[in-house]
Symmetry: C3
Subunit: 140 residues, 3 copies
């Protein structure tokens, strides 16, 4: 049983919500670990970015930004602001709705994601970030 | 350490959101793998169906359909439609809210789900689908 | 490969949504299992409480309660009530939005959670509960 833990960085250039397709990074980690059967546990160590799967399609990202504003708006004042002075209450709540990580099955050396399913970091924070993402490959 | 990866199919008969109780299938996979301690990683390889746990109760499924319409309505036009001509933008966004998979603990040969907690595929797509679901049993 | 499965209880004192920081319990389980590389699979065996990660900050918990009321209100009647007479339809739906569990990477004997990221049980039920939470530590 192998357990290989690596990290990548995703760099958020502006203040808006950002989406990063990291499917290639996870595939590379599976290949580097030489795991044929097992899982890839992809995890965001933080409370303002999620890791999930979506179809990474530019128009759909526009839809996501709109739906996020509707579900947990960024233009209202949250109590969280009083704790740290940061206006990112919405970032925290969106993160736990989408979840901190995903566990992708690996079979015959390949991620079992669908053809239109990418592994994506959603960075919900309101400032520029250089964020660590954990990729853990476990198996044989 | 055993790692047994199997697949089942769930067949969506109509255009509406569908819910499939696959608890029995996952239990069967655990028994077939003869794993006493470990996990069942149940995963949807696609971007328009989730795997999660709910109480699979017919009235609650009605409530879920209503709440889904409120959270991410199906009767508005999404930008995603312009990419492929498919009117399933809402299916994609619902999927990442509920997540692509669950990792259920196995102890003494049994899934550690609660009595009123079923493992469920939520198919959010708008067309008939014959969908693959991955069941991976890992343990000893 | 070690697989150690333990349980803790979280006791909800009143009818409101409750949040429990169980990061210390999960850290203790990792230390007790003496696992250096692997995962902690933290899971709620039930359909009215989630396990996820958030910044456990009192003001943010106020924000969460408000957003929960907006997303899936507690003051409307759900069909689920007709099945069991329980007014917790909203508890069920909130649970699957936030998910039943999380899989936290362990590296060099430590949980790879961020500094402001706690492992939290969100109990959405409407009655007092003494709830079991599963902590499974898997690795080497």
């Amino acid at each position: 049983m192998k357990i290989k833990t690596t990290e990548i960085n995703v760099k958020k250039p502006d203040k808006d919500v950002d989406f990063f397709d990291i499917t290639g990074n996870v595939s590379d980690a599976v290949a580097a670990a030489d795991v044929k059967e097992g899982v890839a546990n992809v995890f965001s160590p933080g409370s303002t970015a999620s890791v999930t799967t979506i179809e990474y399609e530019p128009n759909l990202l526009i839809d996501f930004r709109r739906v996020l504003e509707k579900l947990v708006p960024s233009d209202i004042r949250y109590e969280h602001e009083k704790a740290w002075g940061e206006r990112n209450g919405q970032s925290h709540m969106r993160t736990s709705i989408f979840g901190p990580g995903v566990v992708i099955p690996i079979h015959e050396g390949k991620l079992m994601t669908g053809q239109w399913q990418q592994i994506v970091v959603m960075d919900f924070d309101v400032i520029q970030r250089n964020r660590r993402i954990v990729i853990q490959v476990i198996g044989e």
